[in-house]
């Protein structure tokens, strides 16, 4: 007797089959691709334990959001529907399911496409400039502002008006001006 499967699993399986058919229908005769796993291990090291299905989906999304779609204008492979992005996303998923961590998977793509493939450049080498420059610019601007304001506050009126120092009564113009302000 075939054990009854939970409904959600049946739905997920049906969707997976449908998606598989959809993908393979574009290429009526997909040929089996065999990847030498030993070579992958040699390149990426031994994978960790495979994550749960839910964690795997979340990790795939997270990593895919950080990888640039090669044929799009500045969008990630997570956000792009083009075939290259779909294929790369599928590759990320395979590597996640195999147990590889985010850094190892990003390295895999960087080795093939260059640092360019990372939407957020890593804070290493010359890339530090990209991360430091905004903070440095903000700091300099803030420092400059504080300095200028401090100068203003310290600056004394070189020729104070006699009315300011109480040495003379307000003239007609000053009196009317103050009245206008107070109104």
């Amino acid at each position: 007797m075939i054990p009854a499967l939970p409904t959600t699993r049946v739905v997920v399986a049906a969707r997976a089959i449908a998606l598989g058919l959809l993908v393979t229908s574009a290429y009526a005769e997909p040929s089996p691709y065999r990847e030498p796993l030993s070579e992958l291990r040699q390149e990426m090291g031994a994978p960790g334990p495979p994550p749960s299905e839910e964690l795997s989906r979340e990790r795939t999304r997270q990593i895919s959001r950080g990888l640039r779609c090669p044929v799009c204008q500045g969008s990630s492979i997570q956000d792009s529907p083009v075939e290259s992005a779909v294929n790369m996303r599928r590759r990320v998923q395979e590597l996640v399911e195999a147990g590889y961590e985010q850094r190892a998977i990003e390295d895999y793509f960087v080795r093939r496409y260059g640092e360019w493939v990372l939407l957020n450049p890593r804070a290493t080498g010359a890339n530090w400039i990209v991360w430091l420059l905004p903070a440095l610019g903000g700091g300099v601007a803030l420092g400059g502002l504080v300095y200028v304001v401090a100068q203003w506050r310290r600056e004394e009126d070189p020729v104070p008006l006699p009315s300011d120092t109480g040495q003379a009564p307000l003239d007609e113009f000053e009196r009317r001006l103050l009245e206008e302000i107070e109104r």
């Binding site: 997909p30 040929s31 070579e39 290259s84 080795r111 496409y113 300099v140 300095y147």
Partner: protein, 178 residues
């Protein structure tokens, strides 16, 4: 009536000039580089990722089996115009370089479209089908045509992200054949 003499604040002035120069420098670097330009040196020097794929007739081709002689892997498709430009050269290439293994990998294209195209313009080497673009990803292919030159030890010596020319073939293959 004499106003106050304006004395420049050298610190602020220096800071301002420095900031402007820095900004100008970043802009110059930014505008003189194409952010979408491919770095074709990325895979150069790396071991060519091995694969086993089927050709259009269903026969399996393993890259490792070609070790010991230079290999040229050409990613192409029937919808790519530059691929059509380089195709006549690729038709002649196996005869020009009989000691080199040429391999074509179909990129985001249907096998029947390739078969029909190759019927009209045949080539004398294997054309492989790359399901889900796995080999294309393994080689960091971003579009077509892209051509990889691999030495007899299995190392990638050059990557070309444009239509191949006779000069490209000569420059990259002749040193390996000497």
């Amino acid at each position: 009536m004499s106003g106050r003499a304006l004395k420049p604040n050298w610190f602020i002035l220096g800071l301002g000039i420095g900031a402007v120069l820095l900004f100008a420098g970043v802009m110059v670097i930014g505008f003189t580089q194409d952010p979408r330009a491919l770095d074709t040196r990325v895979m150069v020097g790396a071991t060519a990722p091995d694969f086993v794929l089927q050709d259009l007739d269903g026969a399996e081709v393993e890259l490792a089996s070609l070790k010991g002689r230079p290999v040229v892997i050409n990613f192409w498709s029937t919808w790519c115009q530059p691929c059509k430009v380089e195709h006549p050269l690729l038709q002649r290439a196996p005869a020009l370089y009989p000691d080199v293994a040429f391999v074509g990998v179909l990129y985001q294209d249907k096998p029947e479209a390739a078969r029909s195209y190759l019927k009209r313009a045949p080539v004398d080497y294997a054309q492989l089908v790359d399901p889900a673009g796995k080999v294309a990803i393994a080689y960091g292919v971003t579009g077509v045509p892209e051509t990889f030159f691999i030495d007899p030890h299995g190392r990638i010596t050059h990557k070309l992200a444009r239509a191949l020319t006779a000069e490209d073939l000569a420059e990259n293959l002749e040193p390996m054949l000497r």
